[in-house]
Amino acid sequence: MLANPVNWSLEEEANRFEEMLNLYKQNKISEDEFRRFRLQHGTYSSRFQTKFNMVRVKIPSGEVNPEQLEKIAEICEAFSIGSAHVSTRENFQIHWVYLDDVPEVLRELSKVGLTTREACGNTIRNVTASPLAGVCLFEPFDVTPYAKGIAKFFLRNPLNQNLPRKFKINFSCCDKHGFARIGDIGLIPKLKEENGKKEKGFQIFFGGGLGPASFIGEPLEDFTLETDLLPSCIAIVRLFDRLGDREKMHRNRMRYLVHDLSPEKFREMIIKERRIVKATLPPSAKLELIESYYPDFKEEQKESEVIEDEDYQRWFLTNVLPQRQKGFYTVDTNLPAGDISAEQLRALAEICRKYSLERIVRLTPTQSILLRWIKESDLYELYRELSKHGLGNPGANSIAKCVGCSGTTSCNLAITNSHRLAKEIQAKLLALKLDLDEGLKTASIKISGCPNSCGQHEIATIGFYGGASRVNGALAPTYQMLLGGEAHGNKASLGVMLMRVPARRVIDVVLKVIELYKESKRDRERLDEWISRVIKNEGPEGIRNPDELRVKLESTATIPTIDKNPLFYVDWGGEEKFRAKTARGECAA
């Protein structure tokens, strides 16, 4: 029996949205009041077009069932641009929706249990979980029921309706995976042996987050018992609510508060607050563990056949991961920069029904979609089915899985077209078959269209964020390049700034870095290892440190003047001369 999917939606909310929209149109509520309401319901204004909106569908733990995929497909065609977009926080984003149609979109979403509630605005945003949770080789236990439980507890909870600023909770599946250290709250599952009994619990991190100024989350304590999970989260949210800055919108994420007070001080405050929470929390306020469907399976011990298909072998090497359940595999669809068409969504729904034993898919923070619980004997057939619909691109678990936020395709804050650039880099790396290079498999490229880090550039091996540079009076799209970031479970570090690169030279610079690495790497050294050596001033001869690397890259990264090469003054995907145009963001409502 498949578990009933959680109903995250509340049908009345669509009616309420319609009422508020009408009041706003009749000038009975102010622009500000309506904006706050709209953001609380996941509706974010599109680039320079107040009539159009992005509708962000919250997907707790990234779990989506086939019926929901089909509904998203239908909505995309009827109300949007025919494709949906997977975000780095496991949301589905539906872009360029006409504001007047949002109530209809919410009604449709609610038919399949999906909500946009608290997907934007000063709220607890989507609670994410590592997409491998439940199948990960290294996890002590599946965090998904906890992640969904936390999501459900805070959804529509009065605690969470008017925070100083947005708030993000990330669950890792193990010490090696997931984004626990870049959330306001991050959680890694742990087992602790006490009196011969294994106790479930978490290591909790607080005050992490990416943005114009980023921080890695600080550990709260070594081990937090599972019964203390909810009180700890409530304590942290309450402290932020009480002490957070409601004035300075640009500097009021919890990470600033934590570092203004010092992490040590904040840690003590959390522990104290948690005592109060535990003493005063009504017994009804409990964490409900929401179990996912766990397939009843037999381990497959079959000898695997060798399949003489080069493309399949490449895909198998770069998109398929073994599960802790022997004989089962997790498969990545490697969506280019997170975009998936309505036709592909429908195909994926059918494929999921046919091949995935758990009958759901998982959205990933690398803007992709995973199919899990695939039998080894089905892999080749699955590959061919996926490929028929353009969902069989190789390179998912390699440097070729480029992340790119929506950038100037729809965002008010974006300066550059990071989205298109990510697709271009991916296409180039795949064409060069660099996804097959063992040394490049653990490296990543992530791109944001502005310093705000939706593309998570600071945790990339090679990261970029968009800006503009003036050369002899002409404005060119450029990217700030960062090196050596990562976020893997309990390990995380932020990339260091290296240099500015013209948008049109980003691909060349990436290839140049790879070339330098190949020339000077140690035996089986990987690119990310090589880069961290350079950052630590232990790099190879001539590329000892970032300064020396910069010198090596400078000739590749120069900008010719506009009369020599006007293309440098036009952004990717653009036809006109580049203008650095932005409008007010609505993140801080």
Binding site: G82, W96, S410
Partner: protein, 264 residues
């Protein structure tokens, strides 16, 4: 009787002398198999008939007469059938119907007991007059007038990206699939009505639908609005193709690379 014919109703109609079934699909598809007694009038022939007299000739040559009940179907969610039906209505035919589901769905339907036919249907030349129904046509002058007077709404039913790139000034965007049902031809009338009400469009508003060029997507949208009780709907049959050819002004959504969000 509504202008939509259910499979149950169709069963009672097949075989009657004064009922003509029109298959609007491509001729090749018709020859592969069609509903018993259906006549082939491919959409492309209808689009090529540029004036009322050519349309009259085309339809009468296919055996359609003034007094017939004509039921049109396709396998394209009404995109072909709508345009054919509209053309018949435009020259003054009063008994034009649409089959309420696509051919592929019909032949799977439990009420459809007739096996498909591969024989070309024989028919006699029909008798048709022209009695132009100008109230369902929007020509260039009408569209321009509406933009000027603001006394009505222009609806662009092309896909959203095409709309963002360029559209007729003042037009609103409603991709045609917003009207299309799953098993039935259209979504529920109430849903369509609510969608338009939320856009500030009333049932007695003047409405023009247009699409990329052939009046097909906008043709089926025309009928969706009629179903929802909008009484003054017109089809701008030459659509955006004419508008562009004449180099008339367009509105564009600037400074955003929305095309790059597409997964197609």
């Amino acid at each position: 009787m509504s202008f939509l014919i259910s499979p149950e109703e169709l069963k009672g109609l097949i075989g009657k002398d004064d009922v003509k079934l029109v298959d609007a699909r491509r001729r090749e598809d018709y020859l592969q198999g069609h509903i018993n007694q259906a006549i082939s009038i491919p959409i492309h022939d209808v689009i090529r008939a540029l004036d009322a007299e050519s349309l009259r000739k085309l339809f009468s040559s296919k055996g359609i007469s003034q007094e017939d009940t004509v039921v049109v179907y396709d396998d394209e969610k009404g995109v072909y059938a709508g345009r054919v039906a509209w053309s018949l209505e435009y020259i003054g035919h009063k008994k034009v119907k649409l089959l309420d589901l696509s051919y592929s769905d019909l032949i799977k339907h439990e009420y459809y007991n007739n096996k498909i036919s591969k024989e070309e249907e024989k028919f006699k030349e029909g008798k048709l007059d022209i009695n132009l129904n100008e109230s369902i046509l929007a020509n260039l002058e009408f569209v321009k007038g509406l933009i000027e007077s603001r006394d009505g709404f222009i609806i662009d039913v092309r896909e959203r990206l095409n709309y963002l790139e360029a559209h007729i000034p003042t037009a609103q965007t409603m991709p045609w699939k917003v009207f299309i049902g799953d098993k039935k031809l259209f979504k529920d009338a109430d849903r369509i009505k609510r969608l338009l009400f939320n856009r500030g469009i009333m049932q007695d508003s003047n409405i023009v639908t247009y699409c990329g060029g052939a009046g097909t997507l906008s043709g089926i949208s025309f009928y969706a609005l009629r179903l929802a009780g909008f009484s003054k709907v017109r089809l701008y049959v030459r659509s955006f193709l004419e508008w562009k050819e004449l180099n008339l002004p367009v509105e564009v959504v600037k400074d955003a690379n929305y095309w790059d969000l597409s997964a197609y």
